[in-house]
C-alpha cells in the first residue's frame, strides 16, 4: 500500500470506520475558449461512514457529490487524498487488487436506463457481475439472478427476459439495485438513486432500500440534492457546497439545528416538512434552478469561504480565510466562521 503522492498526503493510518475519506480532492482540466483551466470539482473533503450506517450527502447539482462518489470508486482516480475502505487505501491499489477490493463497494445510479446496457436481458444484467468474477456456473448464476430479482420485488419469470427499455423507471431501478447487490457488497453508494423517478415511485424504492439495509446489513452513502429524501434514510447528513463539505452531523441535529447558513437556506427552501414527501417536485426543481443561477463557477471559486458570495452573514474574515470543519456539538461539525448555533444565545441542550 503506497500513497499516491507521499509529500502531500500524510501517512495512512488504520481506520475503525468502514469508509474513511480523507482530504479528497478532484480537479479536471477543461478548455475554456482557447485556454485551459483547472476546474476544482471536489476540494479537500473528509468524512467517515461506520458499518451499517447511512450517510446522506446533499447539495445542489454541480456541487461535487457525484464526483465524490466516483472518486471514492477510483473512477476516475482522485487527484489527492485517501479513500480507506475496510482499512485498505483504494487510491494505492491498481489492477487486480483494486478490482477485488472494489467489488465490495457497488453503486446505484441516478438514471436506471443509462446504467443498464440496453442490449442485455434483465436476468443477464443482474447475473453479469457474477459472470465477470467467474462466480458459479451458468445455472447457479441464473438461480442467483432470480433470487436477486425476487429480493427487489420483481418477478423473475415476468421480467427476466425483458430488455431495459421494456421496463418502467421504477422497475429498471430495482434491476439496478439487484445488480448492485449481486456481489454482496458492504457499501452501496446510491447516487441520486431516486431523483429521476416519479415521486410515488421514489417512496417505494426508498422503502426497498431501507428494507434491504436491514435485511442485508448494508452501509449506504446516499447522495441526493433533496434534503427531504435524505432525511428519511440517513443516520448522518453531510451538506456540500461548491466542492466542499460545509456541515456534517447527525441527521436529526442537522435538520433541527443547522449551523451553516447554507444548510439553513436549504432547509428553509423546503416548503414544509409534511409537504416534502408530497408531490411538489416542481418546487424543488424550481428552487434548484434559482440557486444554480447564482452559484459561482467552480472554475473560479470565491476566496475564503466559498459560500460567502451568497451568505447573508458574510464578513471580511470570510473573504480572507477559508473556514475549516470544527465541532459544534457531538458528531456535528461545521465549516463556518459564524455558525448559526453559536450566534444563538441560549444553546439548546442535547442528549
Amino acid at each position: 500500500m503506497t500513497a499516491p503522492s507521499p509529500q502531500v498526503t500524510p501517512p495512512v493510518k488504520a481506520s475503525d470506520h468502514l469508509l474513511d475519506v480523507r482530504h479528497l480532492t478532484q480537479t479536471f482540466k477543461v478548455a475554456v475558449g482557447r485556454t485551459e483551466a483547472t476546474l476544482s470539482a471536489v476540494s479537500d473533503i473528509s468524512f467517515t461512514i461506520d458499518e451499517g450506517q447511512t450517510l446522506g450527502l446533499v447539495g445542489e447539482t454541480g456541487c461535487g457529490k457525484s464526483t465524490t462518489a466516483r472518486a471514492i470508486l477510483q473512477s476516475p482516480r482522485p487527484t489527492k487524498g485517501q479513500v480507506l475502505f475496510d482499512g485498505e487505501d483504494l487510491t494505492g491499489l491498481r489492477g487486480g487488487p483494486l478490482r477485488r477490493s472494489r467489488r465490495k463497494v457497488q453503486m446505484v445510479f441516478q438514471d436506471p436506463y443509462s446504467s443498464l446496457d440496453p442490449r442485455w436481458r434483465v436476468s443477464d444484467l443482474v447475473a453479469e457481475p457474477l459472470r465477470i468474477n467467474r462466480i458459479g456456473g451458468a445455472e447457479d448464476r441464473g438461480r442467483r439472478s432470480a433470487e436477486l430479482l425476487d429480493l427487489v420485488g420483481l418477478d423473475p419469470s415476468r421480467f427476466g427476459e425483458r430488455k431495459p427499455h421494456q421496463l418502467s423507471g421504477g422497475q429498471a431501478q430495482r434491476v439496478g439495485i439487484a445488480r448492485a447487490l449481486a456481489l454482496s457488497p458492504k457499501l452501496v453508494i446510491c447516487d441520486e438513486a431516486v431523483s429521476s423517478l416519479d415521486v410515488s415511485i421514489q417512496a417505494q424504492v426508498l422503502n426497498l432500500l431501507e428494507q434491504l439495509r436491514r435485511e442485508l446489513r448494508l452501509t449506504y452513502l446516499f447522495i441526493a440534492h433533496d434534503l427531504a429524501v435524505v432525511k428519511h434514510v440517513s443516520d448522518r447528513v453531510g451538506v456540500m457546497y461548491l466542492g466542499t463539505i460545509c456541515e456534517i452531523g447527525d441527521s436529526e441535529e442537522i435538520y433541527r439545528r443547522p449551523a451553516h447558513p447554507y444548510t439553513a437556506a436549504l432547509l428553509a427552501a423546503i416548503p414544509t416538512a409534511e409537504a416534502t414527501s408530497g408531490d411538489d417536485a416542481a418546487s424543488i426543481a424550481g428552487r434548484e434552478v434559482a440557486v444554480a443561477q447564482e452559484m459561482p463557477s467552480p472554475l473560479n471559486p470565491p476566496t475564503g469561504c466559498r459560500y460567502r458570495t451568497l451568505c447573508p452573514k458574510a464578513a471580511d474574515r470570510c473573504r480572507k480565510e477559508a473556514p475549516t470543519l470544527r465541532s459544534v456539538g457531538p458528531g456535528h461539525d461545521v465549516a463556518c466562521h459564524f455558525p448559526l448555533l453559536l450566534a444563538e444565545p441560549d444553546l439548546p441542550g442535547r442528549s
Binding site: R70, L73, S75, R99, R100, R102, R103, V105, Q106, M107, F109, Q110, D111, S114, S115, L116, D117, P118, R119, E128, P129, I132, N133, H165, G176, R179, A180, A182, L183
Partner: protein, 290 residues
C-alpha cells in the same frame, strides 16, 4: 463530421426489427440488393450463361438483344451479361471485403483508443490522422501499384483507406458509450477493459458502424472502378464492374453497351446501397425522420 455524430445513438436501428420490416424504404432496397447479389452469384449457372471469359473474336461488339447474348458482347465477343454478373461477384466481394477489413481494423483501433484514452489514444489517432491526411485515392493508387493487380490486393488497397474513418466513428461512439453508467457499473463489478469493449461497447456502436459500412461498400465499389480507370484493377481477364467500364470506354461511339451495361449494374447497386444506408442512418438520428 455529420456522419459520425449520427452514427451512434441510444437506440439502434437493428434493435426493433419488426418496425424496420414495415418500412418500405428499408425493405424494398434490401430485397432488391439481395436479389441482385443472388443473380450475380447464382445467375450464371441458373440462366446457363456462357462463361465470362470465353471470347468469340468473330462476333465482337454485338448489340443488345443479339440472340444468345441478351446484353450483347464486348470487344472480344464475350457475353456482356455473363461478364456483368461475374464482374458483379468481384465488385461485391471487393466492396464487402474491403469494408469488412476496414471496419474490423478501424473499429478495433477506434474502440481501443476511445476506451483507453491517454497516450494510446493519442498514438492511434495520430496514425489514423496520417492516413486521413493522405489523399485517399493516391494512397489506394500507390498501394495497388505496389502490390500489383489482383482481387485480394485491390481489397487491401481500398481497405487501407477506409480504416481511418471507421476508426474515427468507432472512437466517437466509444467515447459516448464510455460515459454511460453501465460501463462504470461494469468497472465496479470488476470487469476488465477488454471485456467491456467487447461485451458493452462493441454491441452498442455496431449498428452505427454497420450503417456507415453499408454506405462505404458503395464508395469502395466506386473506388474500385476508379482504380481500374487508372489501370490498377483486378487481373484480366477477370471482370469487375469498374474494370469493364474502363475497358468499354474506348468503344463508346460504336459499342456503348460495353461500358454502359456494367455502368448500369454498378449504378443500380450503389444507388440501392445508398438508399438503404441513408434510410437506416436517418432512423438512427434522434427524432426519426430525415
Amino acid at each position: 463530421m455529420a456522419d459520425m455524430t449520427a452514427a451512434v445513438s441510444n437506440r439502434s436501428v437493428w434493435e426493433d426489427r419488426r418496425l424496420l420490416a414495415l418500412d418500405w424504404a428499408v425493405w424494398i432496397p434490401t430485397v432488391l440488393l439481395v436479389a441482385l447479389v443472388l443473380v450475380c452469384f447464382l445467375g450464371p449457372v441458373v440462366f446457363g450463361l456462357p462463361a465470362p471469359n470465353v471470347t468469340d473474336l468473330l462476333h465482337p461488339r454485338a448489340g443488345l438483344g443479339t440472340s444468345g447474348h441478351l446484353l450483347g458482347t464486348d470487344e472480344l465477343g464475350r457475353d456482356l451479361l455473363s461478364r456483368a454478373l461475374h464482374g458483379g461477384q468481384v465488385s461485391i466481394e471487393i466492396g464487402l471485403g474491403s469494408v469488412a477489413i476496414g471496419m474490423a481494423l478501424g473499429g478495433l483501433l477506434g474502440m481501443v483508443s476511445g476506451f483507453t484514452g491517454g497516450w494510446v489514444e493519442s498514438l492511434i489517432m495520430r496514425v489514423l490522422d496520417t492516413f486521413l491526411a493522405f489523399p485517399s485515392l493516391i494512397l489506394a493508387l500507390t498501394v495497388a501499384a505496389y502490390l500489383g493487380p489482383s482481387e485480394g490486393n485491390v481489397i487491401l488497397a481500398i481497405a487501407f483507406f477506409t480504416v481511418p474513418t471507421f476508426g474515427r466513428i468507432a472512437r466517437a461512439g466509444t467515447l459516448q458509450i464510455r460515459q454511460r453508467d453501465f460501463v462504470l457499473s461494469g468497472v465496479l463489478a470488476g470487469a476488465r477493459s477488454w471485456y467491456l469493449i467487447i461485451r458493452h461497447v462493441l454491441p452498442n456502436i455496431l449498428g452505427g458502424l454497420m450503417t456507415y459500412g453499408l454506405l462505404t461498400v458503395g464508395v469502395a465499389m466506386i473506388v474500385e472502378a476508379s482504380l481500374s480507370f487508372l489501370g490498377l484493377g483486378v487481373r484480366p481477364p477477370q471482370p469487375s464492374w469498374g474494370g469493364m467500364i474502363s475497358e468499354g470506354k474506348g468503344y463508346l461511339s460504336d459499342a456503348p453497351q460495353i461500358a454502359f451495361v456494367p455502368g448500369a449494374f454498378l449504378f443500380l447497386f450503389v444507388a440501392l446501397l445508398n438508399l438503404l444506408g441513408e434510410r437506416l442512418r436517418s432512423r438512427h438520428a434522434v427524432g426519426g425522420e430525415r
